[in-house]
Amino acid sequence: MGERKIRVLVAKPGLDGHDRGAKVIARALRDAGMEVIYTGIRQTPEQIAATAIQEGVDVVGLSCLSGAHNQLFPEVVKLLREKGGDDILIVCGGIIPYDDIPLLKEAGIREVFQPGTTTQEIIAFIKTQVERHD
């Protein structure tokens, strides 16, 4: 079997401009051998879902530090499912209070990475999840 690279979309939904974390993750995933697309800031859920489908990604990583995650993240999941991206692994990070985690997971976000998570942990998680899926 030929080595197919894992394709990841790192995305910033909403109006938040803090993308230090998103950029660090994007580069770490790329250095780990994945193909990474970064949307840049201020993307709507529609734009993110459309890009994910168009680029045929395996993973969407969402980042938001403004507190709008409860509205924005589930919306991205919903749109991805509607567009046929049922298999796409969706993970997220940012400033996410613990109490919000169950709601996000219920909405279809597989994992919520808290501040302090290492890039190595995220890489390992993605690899395990995507391989299991294959």
Binding site: G14, L15, D16, G17, H18, D19, R20, K23, V24, A26, R27, A28, R30, V36, Y38, T39, G40, I41, R42, T44, L65, S66, G67, A68, H69, N70, Q71, L72, E75, I95, P97, Y98, D99, Q114, P115, G116, T118, T119, Q120
Partner: protein, 557 residues
């Protein structure tokens, strides 16, 4: 001279004998010790390290050029720094309560945090604002909200800092209008608008218009304030967000001052005399973990700016040479793990800011890796400043660490390295060009990545995170913003739109559009518009139609 030779000889002897035998027995913990800016630290600094430095030229006296030791002659013996906690969330009603709480606890100035729709020029009912209303700051749609925000706060008594950039002109206009209703004239108002769009492109992201048009709005504000708000800081040129985005201390100083140079050039080009506006420029830096590097950073920035203003721009007035700055402890150093440790981190960072001679200070709260701070956490943060001011004793001597061999050598090293960077930016055609080409962004992202690597590889120990970690229960005692805020804010907005004089609104927008198409100062038109309850989003849209919008090119470094 003889003394120096004696020190040099003695130093050599110490290295050869006392030091060498110890190193042989037990080597040092690391091969080399470096700061965040990659400055290799010597194990010991002596008079030899400041040998080439002329005290009067490099260090001098407080309140005098080059201001290395501070901008005021008496510093904190005269008056403490302004204790200014950045606050704002949910609605104007709730934030107004928090302001009264802070003022009742001894805070001495206000600092307004606006939500992202307000910062990016959208009304709360705009489709892009779903989930964002009132989240990381207070939602302001029109003058009606601003009236509530400052209800019961006498604007002739407090000074107010507003973290607002692309829409700074609108919020300043609303502040002026509220003051007028309180019977306070413009020339009595004291405060600051951040108004620093260049670092928004480089690091923070709340831009709207393209750089040239943004610079025009900024110089319009400079002009307007020179004539009408002589006590207002027209800009707060910010390194804080550059640092938070991942830069080193040296890059923070260099990029901030390079942006400062761009604003000075723009104002001069717009026809202003340098001494007519330079005294109202202010700055904003972060206070990160490396205690001595941070103190040196503040001192170096002050000296560099004084030299830039006098030598490069020929400013004559001492007030034009002074770098006055606000400091915020570094949010990016707060950990979600063992959050109470953040109280200690913040205390050291705040102490560095004070030893660096800050004019005002915000101390972060322990719970900010999770959410906006709770009232209880904010109180501890404010008390931290009060303990430094009233108990530590460091405020009783001006620049008490000045003259330390290590600190003076570090100050010099940071100035040299930052000056090199400014030169690189000059070679690229200045800060605006360097940002448009992505130069600053790439440098910042590279440093951010290296910082993360250093933590993951344990070159850098963060207590409670990659060392001394423990199992802990989730921290859940945090401030929650109700999702109902969005609905409430939209209702309020609808009411304002329904009750205002529609004709006046139309006229104000028409006049503003015409001014924007020409070269007239925009401020009087914006002021007229906000007084007619034209909303922030409507004003921003009017200017969007004329100026267009900035689109960032993003890359992964």
């Amino acid at each position: 001279m003889k003394g120096k030779i004696r020190v040099k000889d003695a130093y050599g002897r110490w290295e050869e004998t006392t030091l060498k035998s110890t190193l042989k027995r037990s080597p040092e913990r690391k091969e080399s010790f470096k700061t965040t800016s990659d400055i290799v630290l010597k194990r010991l600094y002596t008079p030899l390290d400041v040998e080439g430095s002329d005290y009067l030229e490099e260090v001098g006296f407080p309140g005098e050029y080059p201001f290395t030791r501070g901008v005021q002659p008496t510093m904190y013996r005269g008056k403490h720094w302004t204790m200014r906690q950045y606050a704002g969330f949910a609605t104007a009603e709730e934030t107004n309560q928090r302001y009264h709480y802070l003022l009742n606890h001894g805070q001495t100035g206000l600092s307004v945090a606006f939500d992202l729709p307000t910062q990016i020029g959208y009304d709360s009912d705009h489709p892009l604002c779903i989930g964002e209303v009132g989240k990381c700051g207070v939602a302001i749609d029109s003058l009606a909200d601003m009236e509530i925000l400052f209800d019961g706060i006498p604007l002739d008594k407090v000074s107010t800092s507003m973290t607002i950039n692309a829409t700074a002109a609108m919020l300043l206009a609303m502040y002026i209008a509220v003051a007028e209703k309180q019977g306070v004239a413009m020339d009595q108002l004291r405060g600051t608008i951040q108004n620093d769009i260049l670092k928004e492109y480089a690091a923070r992201g709340t831009y709207i218009y393209p750089p040239q048009e943004s610079m025009r709005i900024i110089t319009d504000i400079f002009f307007f304030c020179k004539d009408h708000l002589p006590q207002w800081n027209t800009i707060s040129i910010s390194g804080y967000h550059i640092r938070e985005a991942g830069s080193s201390a040296v890059q923070e100083v260099a990029f901030t001052l390079a942006n400062g140079i761009a604003y000075v050039e723009a104002a001069i080009e717009a026809g202003m005399d340098v001494d007519s506006f330079a005294g109202r420029l202010s700055f904003f830096f972060g206070a990160h973990n490396n205690f001595l590097e941070e103190i040196a950073k503040f001192r170096a920035a002050r000296r560099m700016w004084a030299r830039i203003m006098r030598e490069r721009f020929g400013a004559q007035k001492p007030s034009s040479w002074m770098l006055r700055f606000h400091t915020q402890t570094a949010g990016c150093t707060l950990t979600a793990q063992q959050p109470d440790n953040n109280v200690v981190r913040v205390a050291f960072q705040a102490l560095a800011a004070v030893l660096g001679g800050t004019q005002s200070l915000h101390t972060n709260s322990r719970d900010e890796a999770f959410a906006l701070p709770s009232e209880e956490s904010v109180a501890i943060a404010l008390r931290t400043q009060q303990i430094i001011a009233h108990e530590s004793g460091v405020v009783e001597i001006i620049d008490p660490l000045g003259g330390s061999y290590a600190l003076e050598a570090l100050t010099q090293e940071i100035e040299e390295r930052a000056t090199e960077y400014v030169k690189k930016i000059d070679e690229r055609g200045g800060a605006i060009k360097a940002i448009e080409a992505g130069f600053m962004q790439k440098e910042i992202a590279t440093s951010a990545y290296q910082y993360q690597r250093d933590i993951e590889e344990k070159n850098k120990i963060i207590v409670g995170l990659n060392e001394f970690a423990t199992e802990e229960a989730p921290f859940t005692n945090i401030l929650k913003i109700s999702p109902d805020i969005e609905r409430y804010q939209r209702q309020k907005l609808g009411k304002v739109r329904g009750q205002r004089d529609a004709l006046k609104v139309q006229d104000a927008l028409k006049a503003l559009r015409k001014a924007a198409q020409g070269t007239e100062n925009l401020m009087p038109y914006i002021l007229e518009a906000v007084k007619s309850y034209v909303t922030l989003g409507e004003i921003a849209d009017c200017l969007r139609e004329v100026f267009g919008e900035y689109k960032e090119r993003t890359t992964i470094t």
